[in-house]
Amino acid sequence: MYSEKVMDHFENPRNVGEIPDANGVGTVGNAKCGDIMRMYLKVENGIIADVKFKTFGCGAAIATSSMATEMVKGKSLKEALQLTNQAVAEALDGLPPVKMHCSLLAEEAIHAAVEDYLKNHPEEAE
């Protein structure tokens, strides 16, 4: 039911872990629904220099977290805020319809982490 890419990101998730001196952290989802994602950002000069995640959730939740981190790493905050769940799902060669909400969660987690950073660095918000 999962594409090879989803299984690859599930089996070998990229950027798992946390950043001790992260300057942007976002947590979305809740345990009741079975998915929680937490994203850690290290922003330097307006660029996402490093990103890591921790996720409690199904195969799709882990794979979308992993893919989302890859897609925003090295990007500007503005670019990160433009990340969509569709783009994450497409990059994974698609998701089963019932799992699309996982990609939405990945998008929301990235946005929440960027917004957390911007809250503490209002001068960088455009």
């Binding site: 089996e11 872990g17 009741k32 998915d35 937490r38 995640f53 996720t55 409690f56 959730g57 939740a61």
Partner: protein, 393 residues
């Protein structure tokens, strides 16, 4: 290493006895059991032998056994058939919250047709209290439907006690015994059931065949209309190979039920103890004694069931889970919620169901592999992080 199959509550491998009994039906013995000629008569003879075998395994009479397409059809027929046949007497049905969807969704549909249904709660182990059944009975009650053993958590229900209550109140008692037949001894008289559903592929028979036992004199409407098969009560050309295969598998399972059960219970308990002792923050779901011999169901906190299953599958181990992600909805299993598990604990459930094909070496392998997988998943779980940090404070 070969694959380890521990999802026998989902389906089982066909046993050689069933396969060899079926093969002739795909060759020379292809006849239509309702045909008058010799080819048909041969098929009829084979079919009726199968019916006698199934009846003997349940302590029933052959004419009380109706072959169906499986457990789901048997449940649908029993419940809808009894509801409509007895509508003049009343419109109330009693069942439990932990029944299979074949029972629950049928009851929900009947509610839309004007019937009233009581879904009895269960205790923390998944047991239905017979006193609750009795208390729910009204002068409108026409049917009680309680499963013999739960498919997810393996809890064995007090069927004979409920049977006595049903009999005392002259209410039809249906029992979904899909998980019980072939696993624990079943006797329709001592259980006091009027109808009983079973499915061939749960005890090493083929898929697409099941049976409904209907006690003589029980009022049940026809479910499949058409020809005069199954004494005019269930139309459709008889599935002779299915019936023969199921009967052979059933006889084998019932003949060795005690010996096999004891071996499975030892293996099951070693697996349960091994998991609970090796994995912190894990718990057994279901009852420790009133439990199907092959059923292991545990909740492993701070990991999600589907991720766990995928990791196990990559390690060559087949299991199942009651997590939302495996149910196709956002809610975890209704059974795990009914025994009082919080959503997040229900999401981390793992069911390993054993059969006589499993070995002690396979149990060792699961116990070797599972703790590692759990540790890896927990290492990336923000919930586990928060939990550990909360503990340190």
């Amino acid at each position: 290493m070969d694959r380890i199959y521990m999802d026998n509550a989902a389906t089982t491998a066909i046993c050689p006895e069933a396969l060899s009994a079926m093969l002739p039906c795909f060759g020379d013995h292809f006849g239509n059991a309702s045909s008058i000629h010799g080819t048909g008569r041969d098929a009829r003879k084979t079919l009726e032998e199968a019916r006698r075998t199934v009846a003997e395994c349940l302590g029933a009479k052959a004419q009380e056994i109706y072959f169906t397409s499986g457990g789901t059809e048997s449940d649908n027929w029993a419940i809808k058939g009894a509801a409509y046949a007895n509508r003049k007497k009343g419109s109330h049905i009693i069942t439990s919250q932990i029944e299979h969807h074949a029972v629950l969704h049928t009851c929900e549909w009947l509610e839309k047709q004007g019937f009233r249904v009581t879904y009895l709660p269960v205790d923390e182990y998944g047991l239905v209290n017979p006193r609750d059944v009795e208390a729910a009975i009204t002068d409108q009650t026409i049917l009680i439907s309680i499963m013999a053993a739960n498919n997810e958590i393996g809890t064995i229900e007090p069927i004979s006690e409920i049977g006595k209550i049903a009999k005392a109140h002259k209410i039809i008692f249906h029992c979904d015994a899909v998980q019980a037949v072939g696993a624990i001894p079943v006797d329709v008289d001592s259980w006091g059931v009027d109808m009983l559903s079973l499915s061939g592929h749960k005890f090493h028979g083929p898929k697409g065949i099941g049976a409904l036992y209907i006690r003589t004199g029980t009022k049940v409407d026809i479910f499949l209309h058409g020809g005069a098969q199954e004494r005019g009560r269930r139309a459709s050309t008889e599935n002779v190979p299915g019936a023969v295969g199921m009967a052979a598998a059933m006889k084998k399972a019932v003949d060795s039920i005690e010996e096999n059960g004891m071996r499975l219970i030892a293996m099951r308990d070693r697996l349960i103890q091994g998991i609970l002792s090796r994995i912190p923050y894990s718990r057994l779901n279901g009852h420790s004694l009133y439990r199907l011999p092959g059923n292991v169901n545990v909740s492993i906190q701070y990991v999600e069931g589907e991720a766990l299953l995928l990791r196990l599958d990559l390690a060559g181990i087949a299991g199942s889970s009651g997590s939302a992600c495996t149910s196709g909805s956002l809610d975890p299993s209704h059974v795990l919620l009914a025994i009082g598990l919080p959503h997040e604990v229900a999401h981390g459930s793992l069911r390993l169901s054993l059969s006589d094909g499993n070995t002690e070496e396979e149990v060792d392998e699961v116990l070797r592999v599972l703790p590692d997988i759990v540790e890896k998943l927990r290492a990336m779980s923000p919930m586990y992080d928060d939990f550990i940090r909360g503990q340190r404070k």
